[in-house]
């Protein structure tokens, strides 16, 4: 299985390559990709240089243009697709039907991957993208069990990529409006969930209060690990009591699931975290490279302890092993 690693900056890309990535994914410094954070991402020139570096190490670069194009501003997204192809991207990661159509017509032969933002979670939906636009790989939403992934793979004629580590969206990706509700901005359109411009932290007497727009997302006691101020992982008071209404602040770590994912026929394993530092990328990529090497050698798969890197300092295998709670 291939190891697909994140890079928010050229320096992070070089670290990912050195740490053992088979491919690195990244995006331009604008609203065309779902990690449009301040100070992050690549200029056109940086992308060109980064691709040349990665290719010199036999590592592929996948460029995410995976937000949904804004009406009246299509040229921004079209230019991103054209420039990524021109820079030598090994694949484009797209979600928007119109952009898939544009890329397939304008750049026939360019390898296209379907972003997790498209939320294609069943064989019929995936077949549509494969047959209509020639999509070669689909990034599966983080809502499927391994049994369901195996069933999808049996019924489709394209490669599959699944997330194995990092931030965990618990909603149907590309459809979630929680961030929009609180701030008017979302990963789907502006490329940012819970934008930093709307985040406030306040700490007093050991208690940390996190706010997003007009909403208090959480109050962390002095002995609690902190988390991102996202509505889906907020702690709220409702008629059912006070607690985590949707999901607790946890991150995905599916290292122990790798044998099952390989048996299911998964092509590639994806690490989330383009917004994270070089230290995160080096630590996580090296750990998963070691695990994959052990798996290929038929040795027992041991999970590296990466919990210090994770939101809430807690990990889960997510939907890969569904249990009742």
């Amino acid at each position: 299985m291939e190891l697909i690693c994140p890079a928010g900056t050229p320096a992070a890309l070089r670290v990912a390559v050195e740490a053992g990535a088979d491919a690195v994914y990244c995006g331009f410094r604008d609203e065309t990709n779902a990690r449009n954070f301040p100070g992050l991402n690549f200029s056109r020139e940086e992308l060109r240089t980064a691709i040349a570096f990665a290719h010199s190490r036999k590592v592929k670069v996948l460029v995410a243009v995976n937000t949904f194009a804004r009406a009246g501003a299509l040229e921004i997204w079209h230019r991103a697709i054209d420039d990524a192809v021109d820079a030598g991207a090994d694949a484009l990661i797209l979600a928007d039907l119109g952009l898939l159509d544009y890329a397939a017509r304008r750049h026939s032969g360019q390898r296209l991957h379907l972003s997790v933002q498209a939320a294609a979670a069943n064989a019929d939906a995936i077949r549509f993208y494969v047959e209509t636009f020639g999509v070669r790989r689909v990034v599966l939403p983080r809502v499927l069990s391994i049994t369901e992934i195996a069933a999808v793979i049996r019924d489709v004629a394209c490669e599959t990529e699944v997330f194995v580590f990092g931030g965990l969206c618990v909603m149907a990706e590309g459809r979630c409006s929680l961030s929009s509700y609180a701030t008017g901005q979302s990963p789907n359109m502006q490329g940012v969930c819970s934008p930093a411009s709307h985040v406030k932290y306040q700490e007093s007497d050991g208690r940390l209060v996190s706010r997003l727009g007009d909403f208090t997302i959480n109050v962390f006691g002095k002995d609690e690990a902190a988390a991102y101020p996202t509505l889906c992982k907020g702690r709220f008071s409702t008629t059912f009591g006070t607690g985590y209404t949707f999901e607790e602040p946890v991150s995905l770590d599916a290292a122990t699931m790798l044998p099952g994912l390989r048996a299911a026929g998964v092509t590639a394993l994806k690490i989330e975290g383009r917004q994270r530092s070089r230290a995160y990328i080096e630590g996580v990529v090296r750990a998963f490279r070691r695990t994959l090497t052990a798996l290929d050698a038929g040795e027992p798969v041991e999970r590296a302890d990466l919990s210090a890197m994770t939101e809430g300092q807690t990990t889960t295998v997510g939907a890969y092993r569904k249990t009742w709670r």
């Binding site: 900056t9 320096a11 954070f37 934008p195 930093a196 932290y201 902190a226 230290a279 210090a308 994770t310």
Partner: protein, 171 residues
């Protein structure tokens, strides 16, 4: 307040106490030299900072008796050592010295330090993220640049500092 499982090294309290009466003025020339060196070697920082380069950042090592005010402007950037952070800052960041240096040097992850409550942030989070991302991309050898004036003593001094900066769990 960091969690009890924090592995970030702290300046020994006795050493911090001994530093308390020292004047801050002698810190200014080496700080200015360090910032000038960073500005010359890593001009890409300012492009990534964009409009946030005009913001004022307060950096407070929680285990030292002084703090810093950083103004990362493209023209005449400035860093000042102060006893207490002024009120009119855009961003305030505090944490152990080793955590702050580790962030700049790329040895530590800012989000992880935030999750473990080692790092405390207040103010304009957008500006803070821009600074964090710009610095992470710049690959600044902060310790090496800060000790560059030590001549033949640079290498042993650097080794000592790097060893101290390394999180306890790594030793």
């Amino acid at each position: 307040m960091p969690l009890s499982n924090s592995t970030i090294s702290k300046v020994p309290p006795l050493l911090a106490m001994a530093m308390r009466p020292l004047p801050l003025l002698p810190l200014q020339p080496p700080l200015a030299l360090l910032l000038d060196s960073v500005r010359r070697r890593h001009p890409g920082i300012f492009e990534r900072l964009g409009a946030h380069a005009g913001k004022r950042f307060g950096l407070r090592p929680t285990d030292l008796p002084f703090a810093f005010v950083l103004e990362p402007r493209l023209v005449r950037p400035r860093v000042l050592a102060v006893r207490h952070l002024p009120a009119d800052l855009d961003v305030r960041v505090s944490g152990p010295l080793a955590g702050l240096v580790g962030l700049v040097s790329g040895e530590l992850d800012g989000d992880a330090l935030f999750f473990s409550r080692d790092l405390h942030v207040e103010g304009d989070i957008e500006a803070l993220l821009a600074l964090r991302n710009a610095i992470d991309d710049a690959q600044i050898d902060l310790v090496g640049e800060a000790l560059s004036g030590l001549g033949p003593f640079k290498i042993p001094a650097e080794r000592f500092v790097q060893n101290w900066l390394r999180p306890a769990a790594w030793n």
